[in-house]
C-alpha cells in the first residue's frame, strides 16, 4: 500500500473518533428562562446493560413520567455497565456540577466500593437525590419442599451443616449477604449457588439443584401461581405487598439486621440546589401517581420516599450495615 493510502486510512479513523466525540458535545438547546430549573438535555444513567433490572426500572419510570405528563420528552437512558455500578459511579463523578444527569442506584452501589478492587467512588462522594423504594426479598422453595417456613429450613440446616443450597446472584448481592447474616445468627452453614441470570436461579430451584432462594417477588410470581414453587417467608422487616401473608424474619423471631434492597436516585457531586430540588419534586410527584402505585403493587415494591438529609442518613446506615455483613461473611476488600 502506498503512503498516501495509509494516510487516508489513518485520517478516516481519526475523523470517526472526532465525529463520535462531537456527538456528545452538541450545544444545549431549548433552555428555559421562565422556570427556576428544568434540565435541557436530560440523561438517565443506569449501571446495568439493556434488559438488566435497573435498566428496565428506569425505562418504566420514564414511561410512567411521560404518561403522567410529568416530563415532556423521552429521556435517553445511558447504560454504564462496567464494574457492577463502579463505572456508573465514576461517570457521575466525572460530571461534577452537571444538572442534566441523574442515575438510578441500588444496594450494589453500596456493596461495590467495599468489594471491588479499583472501585473508589462511594455514595458519599455523590449527590444523594432521593430514595424511592425498598424491595422486600422473598424466600421461595420448590412446591414439594418439606419446608414451610424459614425456621424449618434453618432447623434442617442445623441437622445437615454445609449441605443445603441457597441460589442467587453474586456472593455479595443482597440475598447472599442476608443469607450469610442469618447463618451467623443461627450458627448454621449452607452453600451458595451463584447464577448471573434470574432465570437460571429459578431453574435451579425447579430442578432441585438448589433448596431455596431469596429474590424479588416478581422472580417467582408465575411459578408460584402455577404451583411449582411456594413462598415461605419475607427476608425483610417489612412484608411484601405481593405476599402479605408470608412471615417476615422479625415475625419468626430472628434479630439479624438485614441489608435492604433499595432503589434510589443519585446525581453528580456538586449538583446545584435548584436542580436537586427539581428532581426531588419530580420523583415525589411520580410516587403519588396512580400509575406508580399500580406499578409498585404489581411488582411487590414498598414505596419509601426519602429526600435530603434523611436519604443521606439512610445511605450511611446501610453502608455501615453492608460493611459489617461483609465482614461476617468474610468477603470484601482487604
Amino acid at each position: 500500500m502506498s503512503d498516501s493510502r495509509l494516510v487516508r486510512v489513518v485520517v478516516s479513523g481519526i475523523l470517526v473518533v472526532l465525529l463520535t466525540a462531537a456527538c456528545g458535545l452538541q450545544p444545549d438547546s431549548g433552555s428555559e428562562n421562565g422556570k427556576d430549573f428544568e434540565p435541557t438535555k436530560p440523561e438517565f444513567l443506569v449501571h446495568t446493560g439493556p434488559g438488566g433490572g435497573s435498566d428496565l426500572f428506569v425505562r418504566d419510570v420514564i414511561a410512567m413520567m411521560r404518561k403522567e405528563k410529568l416530563i415532556e420528552t423521552n429521556w435517553p437512558v445511558r447504560n454504564e455497565k462496567a464494574g457492577e455500578g463502579a463505572g456508573a459511579m465514576s461517570y457521575l463523578m466525572g460530571k461534577k456540577g452537571d444538572t442534566d444527569t441523574i442515575s438510578a442506584m441500588t444496594t450494589t452501589w453500596i456493596t461495590t466500593p467495599l468489594t471491588i478492587e479499583g472501585a473508589s467512588v462511594t455514595t458519599k462522594d455523590l449527590t444523594a437525590v432521593a430514595g424511592l423504594i425498598n424491595e422486600p426479598e422473598i424466600m421461595a422453595v420448590p412446591a414439594d419442599s418439606p419446608y414451610d417456613s424459614l425456621s424449618d429450613f434453618i432447623e434442617d440446616a442445623k441437622k445437615k451443616p454445609g449441605k443445603l443450597v441457597q441460589t442467587g446472584g453474586s456472593t455479595t448481592e443482597v440475598g447472599a449477604l442476608n443469607g450469610a447474616a442469618l447463618q451467623a445468627e443461627t450458627d448454621t452453614k449452607w452453600k451458595f449457588l451463584s447464577f448471573e441470570e434470574v432465570g437460571q436461579r429459578v431453574t435451579a430451584l425447579l430442578n432441585g439443584d438448589a433448596d431455596m432462594m431469596f429474590g424479588a417477588a416478581t422472580d417467582f410470581a408465575s411459578q408460584v401461581k402455577a404451583g411449582k414453587l411456594k413462598v415461605i417467608g419475607t427476608i425483610s422487616p417489612t412484608p411484601s405487598p405481593l405476599y402479605p401473608d408470608a412471615p417476615t424474619t422479625e415475625d419468626e423471631g430472628y434479630e439479624t439486621e438485614l441489608v435492604a434492597q433499595v432503589r434510589g436516585i443519585m446525581a453528580p457531586p456538586g449538583m446545584p440546589k435548584e436542580a436537586v430540588t427539581y428532581y426531588q419534586e419530580l420523583f415525589t410527584k411520580l410516587l403519588e401517581t396512580k400509575a406508580w402505585k399500580d406499578y409498585a403493587k404489581k411488582n411487590g415494591l414498598v414505596t419509601k420516599l426519602l429526600t435530603g438529609k434523611k436519604w443521606e442518613k439512610y445511605l450511611a446506615e446501610q453502608n455501615a450495615l453492608v460493611k459489617e455483613t461483609l465482614k461476617t461473611a468474610d468477603l470484601g476488600k482487604g
Binding site: 502506498s2 486510512v9 445511558r78 447464577f195 435451579a204 411459578q223
Partner: protein, 520 residues
C-alpha cells in the same frame, strides 16, 4: 388460527414490517445490539396493544439475526454476536466471488430454520421447556466440554496452535469480576475491564482489523475480491442448496434446543452447529475455506435459537437472553406474567405473537433476498476505499456499545493480535470459541461442585451430562486416533517421509484456490 387473524390486521402487519426492517438494519451495523434496540423502543411499545408491542420486538429480535450475517460475509465484521461464526466461511466465499450465494443461503437457511423453529415453538414448547429445566450445572459443564472439544475441528494445520489459541481465548475470558467471590481478576485495577473484555471488540479486532492489516501489507494493488458479473451467480445454485440442506436441518434442531436453554443463547448455538456441520460433512477440509455449509449451519442455528429462546420465556416466564428479558419487562408493564399458565390464560397475546413470527420470517426472506445483489455490489468498491470503510465501521460499532474509548484501544490491540496470528498461522476461530464457551464451562463446573459437595461423579451419574461428556471425549480423541491410524496405514503403504507431506499439499492447493494470503 385466531392468532393469525390478529396478526394479519393492518396495524400488526405494519409493526411486523417495522420490527423486521429495524432488526435487519441493526443486525447489519455492528455494535448496536438487539437488546439495546429493543430497550430503546420500549417506551414506544407502551402506547401499543401488548400483542402488537411484542410482535414488533420479536420482529427486531429475529430481524437482527438475518441482518447480522451481511457484514460478516462481506467485510468479515460480525454484525452481532451470533454472526461471528458466519464470518469464518462467509468471508472466504466473498473473497472467492461468491458473496451472493453466501448471503442468499444465509437468508434461505434463516428462513427455513426460523420457520421450523417456530413450528417447534408452536407444538413442542411445553415439552421442550420441561427438558430445559432438567439442564443443571453438570449438564451445562458437559455441553460446554462438548463445545470446547470442537476446538480441534476449528484448527488449521496445527492442532497445537489451535489449542494455544483456545487457551488464549479462555484466559481472556477470565478477565473481570468473578461471580463467585465478587473479586476482580486480571483487570489491573482498570474499571473498564471489570465486566470483562468486550466480545465485539475481540471479534472485530481479530477478524476485521487483522484482515485489513494483512491485506494492507499486500502492495500488489490488485482487486482483492472477485466480483461476480452475472446475476445468476448472485444466488445459490442447486449444488449449493444440496450442499447446505443437511447443515440447515442440523442447525435448525441444534439451534432450537440450545436456544431454549436459559443462559446458552444463539452465539453458543451457532458455534455448536458449525462444528457439528464440519464433523458431519463429507468435505470437512473445505470448512474455514469458503464452505457454503459453513455459512448455512450457523445462520440456521441462530435463527432457530431465536424461536427456541421464546420457549422458556413464554412457558416458564424465564428469559434466556437479554432481549427476551426486555420482552418480559414489557409484558410486566402490561400486567401480564408469562409462566406455566401463560398459554392458557392469555391466548389472545401468545398466539398472535407466534403467528406474527411466521409472517415476520416470510417478510424477512422477501426483504433480504432482493437485497443480495445490492449488498454484494459493496465488494465492487475499490479496496483503498473499502478498507478505511471497514475500519470506520469497526470503530463506530465498537465505540457505540459502551461509548468507551478504552474499547477502541482494545479493538486496536486485538487487531494487532489478529494480524500476528495470521502471519504466524494461528487460527482465530478457536480463540473466539473458547472465549465464548470458557466462562460458561468454568462457572458450570464450579456450580456443579457446589451442588455435589465436591464430588466429581456428578458428571457421570447424571445421564445427560454423561452422554455429552462421552460425545466430547469421542470428538476430542476420535480425530487423533483416526490421524494415527491413517499415519500407520500410510507408513506401511509408502516410504517413511511421505505421510506428513501427503497432507500439506492438499491444504496448500485449497489456499491457492481461495487466493488467501494467510490461512485461518
Amino acid at each position: 388460527m385466531t392468532g393469525f387473524a390478529t396478526a394479519f390486521t393492518l396495524t400488526n402487519l405494519f409493526w411486523v414490517l417495522f420490527g423486521a426492517t429495524a432488526g435487519t438494519l441493526i443486525g447489519v451495523l455492528p455494535g448496536l445490539g438487539t437488546p439495546a434496540t429493543i430497550a430503546i423502543l420500549l417506551p414506544l411499545s407502551v402506547n401499543l396493544e401488548p400483542a402488537t408491542a411484542l410482535i414488533m420486538m420479536a420482529g427486531i429480535y429475529y430481524g437482527s439475526k438475518y441482518g447480522g450475517s451481511t457484514t460478516s460475509i462481506l467485510l468479515n465484521i460480525p454484525g452481532e454476536d451470533a454472526s461471528v461464526v458466519t464470518a469464518i466461511d462467509g468471508y472466504q466465499m466473498a473473497k472467492q466471488g461468491r458473496a451472493g450465494p453466501a448471503l442468499g443461503i444465509a437468508a434461505i437457511g434463516s428462513f427455513i430454520a426460523g420457520t421450523f423453529g417456530l413450528i417447534g415453538l408452536t407444538f413442542l414448547a411445553p415439552a421442550v421447556a420441561e427438558m430445559a429445566v432438567i439442564f443443571g450445572p453438570p449438564e451445562y459443564t458437559a455441553l460446554m466440554a462438548l463445545g470446547l472439544s470442537m476446538v480441534l475441528l476449528l484448527a488449521g494445520r496445527s492442532k497445537l496452535k489451535a489449542l494455544i489459541a483456545a487457551l488464549g481465548g479462555f484466559l481472556l475470558s477470565t478477565i473481570g469480576i468473578d461471580l463467585f467471590s465478587g473479586a476482580t481478576r486480571f483487570t489491573g485495577g482498570r474499571m473498564e475491564l471489570a465486566n470483562g473484555v468486550e466480545f465485539v471488540a475481540l471479534c472485530i479486532g481479530l477478524f476485521a482489523i487483522g484482515e485489513v492489516m494483512v491485506n494492507l501489507e499486500n502492495r500488489s494493488g490488485q482487486t482483492f475480491f472477485k466480483v461476480p458479473s452475472k446475476l445468476r451467480e448472485l444466488f445459490p445454485n442447486r449444488k449449493d442448496l444440496v450442499a447446505s440442506s443437511g447443515a440447515i436441518g442440523q442447525g435448525t434442531v441444534v439451534g432450537f434446543f440450545v436456544g431454549a436453554l436459559p443462559g446458552a443463547g444463539s452465539t453458543v448455538a451457532s458455534f455448536v452447529s458449525y462444528t457439528l456441520a464440519k464433523r458431519l460433512s463429507r468435505h470437512p477440509e473445505q470448512f474455514g475455506r469458503g464452505s457454503i455449509a459453513g455459512v448455512a449451519a450457523p445462520e440456521a442455528a441462530n435463527n432457530s435459537a431465536t424461536a427456541g429462546s421464546f420457549v422458556p420465556l413464554l412457558t416458564l416466564g424465564i428469559p434466556g437472553s437479554a432481549s427476551t428479558a426486555i420482552m418480559l419487562g414489557a409484558l410486566f408493564l402490561y400486567g401480564l406474567q408469562p409462566g406455566p399458565m401463560f398459554f392458557t390464560e392469555n391466548p389472545d397475546v401468545v398466539w398472535p405473537i407466534i403467528a406474527s413470527m411466521y409472517i415476520g420470517n416470510l417478510v424477512l426472506v422477501l426483504l433480504n433476498l432482493p437485497l443480495v445483489p445490492v449488498f454484494a455490489s459493496i465488494l465492487r468498491i475499490p479496496y483503498y476505499i473499502l478498507y478505511p470503510g471497514i475500519i470506520v465501521i469497526s470503530i463506530v460499532g465498537v465505540y457505540s456499545i459502551n461509548k468507551s474509548l478504552f474499547d477502541i484501544v482494545l479493538l486496536a490491540l486485538f487487531g494487532l493480535l489478529g494480524y500476528v496470528m495470521r502471519k504466524t498461522d494461528f487460527p482465530t476461530a478457536p480463540m473466539v470459541l473458547a472465549f465464548v464457551l470458557g466462562p460458561l464451562f468454568e462457572q458450570s463446573m464450579r456450580r456443579s461442585f457446589v451442588i455435589s459437595q465436591g464430588d466429581p461423579t456428578i458428571f457421570v451419574t447424571r445421564p445427560w451430562a454423561a452422554v455429552f461428556l462421552l460425545v466430547a471425549v469421542a470428538l476430542f480423541v476420535g480425530p487423533m486416533l483416526a490421524r494415527r491410524r491413517n499415519n500407520e496405514t500410510d507408513s506401511s503403504d509408502s516410504s517413511p517421509e511421505t505421510p506428513t507431506e501427503k497432507e500439506e499439499p492438499a491444504a496448500a492447493d485449497l489456499d491457492a484456490v481461495t487466493d488467501e494470503p494467510n490461512k485461518r
